[in-house]
């Protein structure tokens, strides 16, 4: 067992070594942002590998010969205006030599310094520096070239503007959606609140119903009719089922013709119905004492008796 563990450790170590030497090549393509970057990195690695493999030979610079040549080429007696060469005051030192922007900026600064210094020197040695406005001559780049450059610049400018506008539009769209969402949420909130209120009112009404039926009149406007006292029995039974009640007309019909439950023998008399005398009008069929008219009128005891026709007509 221990033998095999040792073996695998060794194997892994070897793997690491292998990886290091070819780390770059082994990297998958997706690790690079672009093909160019990959090429550049490969080139750097290649340079490194070459440098490692190279045996640096002893090089002796022929410094004396070089300095002699410099003196020979460069006659000191020549005035500055012949060469117009300016050496920068500070040498270029860069932190990162792979950063293109940094390099260009450094070179630009150097050239700008030379331009400013050169202008002074040229003017000092009594030569004209700037071209007068009425001096026309052939340019390095032709008008056609410059037109191309200009159109490209314009196009670039335009495309930048367009993209910016599109960005703004996108932002607006996003914002608009936000507003819409807020509105929708508001609406939902409102609905929920009103529903809550209704529920609350219903509860209130119910509790007040039990306590005092007098309040009934005020609550008519709120909630549905079928929660009223007339069908309180029905509503109770229906609440058990959890089903909504049918409309009042239907309920009346159901009551009348029967719907649901056993239909047989409902209309028959039972012991109770026979002994129940509450529905019997005792005055029916009898002519009351001191009373005019037909019998049933007496059953409506609380009501005013109907007057005679002549009196009715005269009261109108």
């Amino acid at each position: 067992m221990s033998d095999s563990e040792d073996w695998s450790d060794y194997e892994i170590e070897q793997d690491d070594k292998e990886l290091n030497s070819h780390q770059l090549a082994a990297k998958s393509d997706s690790d690079y942002d672009s093909e160019e970057e990959r090429e550049a990195e490969l080139e750097l690695a290649a340079l490194k590998s070459i440098r490692e493999g190279k045996t640096i030979k002893e090089i002796t610079f022929e410094n004396d010969a070089i300095s002699a040549l410099i003196k020979e080429i460069n006659p000191e007696s020549l005035p500055w205006i012949e060469r117009c060469s300016i050496t920068s005051s500070t040498p270029i030192t860069l932190q990162d030599v792979t950063n293109d922007i940094e390099i260009e900026l450094a070179i630009y600064q150097q050239a700008l310094e030379a331009a400013q210094e050169g202008k002074k020197m040229v003017l000092k040695s009594n030569h004209s520096f700037t071209r007068p406005d009425d001096y026309f001559a052939e340019m390095v780049k032709t008008d056609e070239d410059m037109e191309k450059i200009r159109s490209r610049l314009l196009q670039e400018h335009k495309s930048i503007q367009l993209s910016e506008e599109a960005k703004k539009q996108r932002e607006l769209k996003k914002f608009g959606k936000k507003v819409q969402n807020e509105k929708l949420r508001e609406r939902i909130d409102k609905k929920r609140q009103t529903l809550n209120n209704i529920e609350l009112l219903k509860k209130k009404r119910k509790s007040s119903d039990n306590a005092d039926s007098f309040n009934d009149d005020f609550d008519v406007a709120i909630g549905e009719d079928y929660t009223g006292t007339a069908t309180s029995n029905n509503s109770k039974s229906n609440k058990k089922n959890g089903k909504p009640l049918p409309n009042p007309k239907r309920r009346a019909k159901n009551d009348r013709y029967g719907h649901g439950g056993s239909k047989r023998g409902v209309k028959r008399n039972t012991q109770d119905s026979i002994s129940d005398v509450s529905g019997i009008n005792q005055n029916k069929g009898r002519s009351g004492f001191g009373k005019r008219g037909k019998g049933p009128a007496s059953s409506k005891a609380g009501k005013k008796p109907r007057l005679g026709k002549s009196r009715r007509m005269s009261s109108k």
Partner: protein, 287 residues
């Protein structure tokens, strides 16, 4: 194969002619080559040569040179045309460009490798200048740090400056040629000096801005010879690697990717074989 471009400048300083020494200019260019191979020259190299010819009014372009080996011919050509500086472009493998800058006939000569070429015709370089106007040469003070670079500087001062009164030259200054040493290479840039406000067009004497004209390229010093296209080596850049070596190294690295995969595959297989579990005698008990 070698595309060749030569530039000669004649800078005879004749003290007896006048009190002050003077630069005389002759324009002369030579480009010689095998006629068939001509079309295979990488267009960018050709454009670079054309740009330099435009920027240096004292230059004379010659036809292509039909030899790669015997470069001493160039000295004779220079003498024939009364020139004392030669710029010789050598294209190899359709993609690598070398530049010889030499002082004919006595020397020295310097061989460069030209990298990162961008020509004037590129649309992102928006500057422009008079054809034949004199440049102000700007050198990084890094040039003074070592003798070989000092030699490069003095030679470039000779070659790239336009002497006063050159034929076809204009007596104004409207561009800067800058040479900087970054990462042990010579970076060449060419800027237009703009003293006008780009928006209003009015003169702003205080504010000088630069707009790049092109071409831009980077020179890597390979060797410095004592003579012109001959002589002993005075300096050799130890950091220089031939582009062919770099390319082959890249190829090797790329192929290493495949090789790596294959070897790791086989190693994995070997590992699996070595570590295979022994047959379990109780394996089939519950089946």
């Amino acid at each position: 194969m070698a595309s060749i471009y030569k530039k000669f400048t004649n800078a005879d300083s004749s003290a007896d002619h006048q009190q002050t020494p003077k630069n005389k200019q002759r324009i002369f260019n030579i480009l010689l080559e095998f006629s068939i191979i001509y079309i295979y020259i990488y267009y960018r190299h050709r454009h670079l040569i054309k740009d330099l010819e435009i920027l240096l009014p004292q230059s004379k372009k010659d036809s292509k040179l039909d030899t790669k080996k015997n470069l001493d011919v160039l000295n004779e050509l220079a003498e024939l045309n009364n020139c004392n500086n030669v710029l010789f472009f050598e294209a190899r493998r359709h993609e690598d460009l070398y530049l010889w800058a030499s002082r004919a006939p006595s020397g020295p000569s310097i061989k460069f490798h030209v990298l990162n070429i961008h020509t004037m015709s590129e649309l992102k370089l928006t500057g422009n200048c008079l054809k034949g106007s004199r440049p102000i040469l700007s050198f990084d003070s890094n040039f003074d740090s070592s003798l070989p670079y000092q030699l490069v500087k003095t030679l470039f001062e000779q070659i790239f400056s336009v002497p006063i009164g050159t034929r076809k030259s204009k007596p104004f200054f409207d561009h800067v040629m800058s040479f900087s040493i970054i990462d042990d290479k010579v970076w060449v840039r060419n800027y237009q000096i703009s003293e006008k406000d780009p928006e209003t067009g009015s003169d702003t004497n205080q504010l000088t801005t630069l707009v790049e004209i092109g071409p831009r390229f980077v020179l890597n010093v390979i060797r410095i010879f004592e003579g012109s296209f001959n002589g002993r080596t005075l300096f050799e850049n130890p950091e220089f690697n031939t582009p062919t070596a770099v390319k082959s190294a890249i190829k090797r690295l790329k192929s290493a990717k495949y090789n790596n995969r294959v070897t790791s595959d086989t190693r994995q297989k070997m590992k699996e074989m070595k570590h295979s579990l022994p047959q379990d005698p109780l394996d089939n008990v519950f089946k």
